[in-house]
Subunit: 497 residues, 2 copies
């Protein structure tokens, strides 16, 4: 509606340090008036030749009419030597009528989905508009074709890793299970067997810890693409954080809006996972879908979801295998970054490992070994076990964390602890993943690496009077008390006498 | 999750003038860290004894750890003498799981809707979360009971006007029709007949002009509640802007989010209109629902919507009457604030009035006269016409604008003009409201009062070679050109030869 030329201004960057969580520019009221815009409107910010970014406008008297303040979110994109930027009012986003179309239950085609994802990537949509899109996908669902096109759009708008001729393998869990830190073990076994596994993981948002939080206890995880490629070239694998690689920038924004309500439309879940794998250059992908009480999906949902992963992956030439696993209780004993790393090390070092964690990791690794032809069909389990028992997996793990930037850390537990002991004999009937994760959050996870809880017993295990059931660890007495109060009120562990 | 006491801070207000479109506080990074919050999180800001407001957090180095900057949006609530405020992290909004419940198609009860509307009023929800709610209502609809409870919740959370024993009448149009400036005429006729009509109107968002924009050409429209009551006491009516009265603050926020996609879920449309009428103390309400090509609804939708207005209004003791009217083309000749006021004055002064506008205004006024018992059944039309013809309506109009604060204004048209003339004889087949409104926006409406367009012909009217069809008015040549380009490309007027 408003033409670029008549309303554009070239302004001097004033260095203020403002962090807003989203790109914001601060303009003088007079500048905004001349540009015919108000607080909350969007402008295009042009820096250097063809680089541009869309941002919301705040008005500020402390900026002169010839100046502009850019929020910290620009700093990753704008070179420090840039002194001036040109701004003009952003045009009406083309994707808005397409979002309305989806809300009306109509199918979006390839170009339309591409338009929406590009607008999200370029920050042309406000979070409220992204929420409308997420909600439309959640309420109306997506056809097979739409999900394929959404995956394509998300993977096409970000960076890509390339690995030459090597076949890249990956594993992924849809999450939701406390503990469940199989990834470092699986990657170490597979890489020790000669496979190439550039594994990137997420940080926890609502759970006690993500694989990236756990790896961070012992190594640097925020690698650049080129550091990551060096590590993989040297060791055959990595165990890094995926957030700093820009593989699927639209997805990060979608996830942020989904997290507000903790909703995760299936089509977006599939597109999000597969787009990241495609951008990371993966070929063979094993997806772990835990199901059951307290997990994200039921057994039948797990089967349906698995089938869609396989079918859609096939359209992108991916070899996907699904493993539906028991997700009705936590895996391993430790919940929280340091405690989970202790479990991982106990498996790798063959010293008192939690058997559920070890068994699941071996099963996943053996499947990957067979999927990639590294082991012959039927020989995966034996190969995985022998790599673990021989110490080759532990050696590989140490190589990887050394290449990434090893930290020396005694993996201590929180200064304040509390032991919950049995007052009468009984049996563990159930352990609720969601409540256990929430208790760990209250104890300080994932920010405080030493916080968390230790489960001594799993489902169907018996205990006697005085046996420890669980120990809480925190860095402050008040957090310990909050978690104890929550535990008392919500009973994450049910027992029978 | 986080307790109030351990994380609360009392901070000194630093006076920066920042306008953000929503309440924002700026904190030093260290303060935020001590409070365990990040940019984009929400805090409760406590000022004076029990007053509080929720705001988003931005981080800024230019604020010291003992200081806080409050955005301009606080200034209407915080007394200038307040030196310090206390802030603490806001708790998880109770309404989020309720929004998910609605997304799953479940009915919300009275308390649940109240919780959502209170959270919106207190700014506890981000715009993306409000968008999820709007979208859920749009996709899932609302039951009769829900719509009643939503109306009740919205009207209960704002200010209320009270009028003692007087019966208050009101008219409302659901909008969408270019021109259509009946309100000033209807209110003048009814008030001249002795009715009490404290009419508040909105400003245009996507159309060429709202009644408040048009009235503003000749009088002050942003009245305080007490000014408004004085005007009504003196003249029996007012023609003011409703936005400054705080009658339904949740509704203003809902509308802002709805406008992003230009969606208007029916339940929210009904609740929004009725809640404002209830808060304004109205008893008799005439609702104009224009239907047809280019209008907001079809004829059958108009009938269904009208029935729901009546049924829901009855639950609040309102006497509602519906008038479904032809909305397939603009009403009157002028489109734009000054041009529409010229039309209104020509009707009131009985000098070359656009007959469609005059006829519709008389019909609406006569219905109101009968609804309120001011005219006997069947006598409304005669009474309305005689009040108009006698000059009593014009006299009342002048009394009202004088009481509000009359402006002397020649109602000039834009400096740049362009006449579209017929190149061959023909007949007007259709005129598209939406496209006409958009052309008026391009010409500078509603910000520029003198901009807009003048329609010489309506549907089914014939024209000869050289006849003027439409004239454009703008304050700049570039706006004139933009509107001409749009007109050429989109053909708002269809003709037959």
């Amino acid at each position: 509606m408003k033409t670029e030329n008549s309303l554009q201004k070239t302004l001097k960057i004033k260095r203020f340090m403002i962090e807003s969580g989203r790109p914001i520019v601060f303009l003088n009221e007079k500048t905004a008036e001349a540009m015919q815009i108000s607080a909350g409107d969007r402008v295009v910010v042009v820096f250097e030749a063809h680089k541009r970014m869309i941002a919301m406008v705040d008005l500020m008297n402390q900026v002169s009419p010839s100046e502009i303040v850019l929020s910290k979110e620009f700093s990753a994109f704008i070179n420090g030597s840039v002194k001036r930027v040109t701004v003009y009012p952003a045009s009406y986003p083309k994707s808005l009528p397409l979002i309305v179309k989806k809300m009306h239950g109509k199918e979006l085609d390839k170009l339309e989905l591409r338009t929406i994802i590009e607008d999200i990537t370029q920050n042309a949509l406000m979070e409220a508009e992204v929420a409308y899109f997420v909600s439309a996908v959640y309420e109306e669902g997506m056809t097979f074709k739409e999900t394929v096109n959404l995956t394509d759009a998300i993977s096409s708008t970000g960076a890509r890793l390339s690995w030459g001729k090597r076949d890249i393998a990956d594993k992924h869990s849809i999450g939701g299970i406390a503990g469940n830190r199989t990834t470092p073990i699986v990657v170490s076994i597979c890489a020790a067997a000669g496979m190439t596994m550039p594994k990137t993981s997420s940080r926890a948002i609502t759970s006690a810890a993500g694989t990236a939080d756990v790896m961070e206890t012992l190594t640097k995880v925020d690698l650049t693409s080129s550091d990551l490629q060096k590590v993989v070239k040297k060791t055959g694998a990595c165990l890094a954080w995926g957030g700093s690689l820009g593989l699927a920038p639209a997805d990060d924004k979608l996830i942020r809006v989904e997290r507000l309500l903790n909703i995760d439309p299936e089509a977006q879940l599939i597109a999000s996972i597969l787009a990241k794998k495609i951008s990371a250059g993966s070929k063979h992908i094993l997806i772990d879908i835990p199901y059951g009480f307290g997990a994200k999906v039921t057994e039948s949902q797990a089967k349906g979801l698995g089938k869609r992963f396989v079918d859609i992956g096939r359209r992108f030439g991916l070899n996907i295998k699904i493993m539906t696993t028991d997700g009705s209780q936590p895996i391993g004993n430790g919940i929280g970054p340091n405690l989970e790393m202790r479990d991982v090390l106990s498996v790798l070092r063959r010293h008192n490992p939690p058997l559920d964690l070890e068994k699941k990791a071996i099963l996943l690794a053996s499947t990957l070994l067979e999927m990639t032809g590294t082991a012959q069909k039927g020989n995966g389990l034996v190969m995985a076990k022998s790599i673990l028992d021989s110490g080759a997996a532990y050696k590989k793990f140490d190589e990887i964390i050394t290449a990434q930037g090893k930290k020396h850390n005694s993996l201590k537990t929180g200064r304040f602890e509390y032991h919950l002991t049995a007052k009468s004999p009984g049996t563990i009937k159930s352990i609720d993943n969601k409540k256990v994760n929430h208790a760990a959050n209250l104890l300080g996870c994932p920010e405080e690496k030493s916080a968390g809880l230790y489960l001594y017993k799993h489902k169907n295990e018996k205990f006697s009077i005085g046996d420890r059931i669980v120990t809480f660890y925190a860095e402050s007495q008040s957090k310990l008390e909050e978690a104890k109060d929550f535990w008392k009120g919500s009973r994450p562990i049910e027992i029978t006498h």
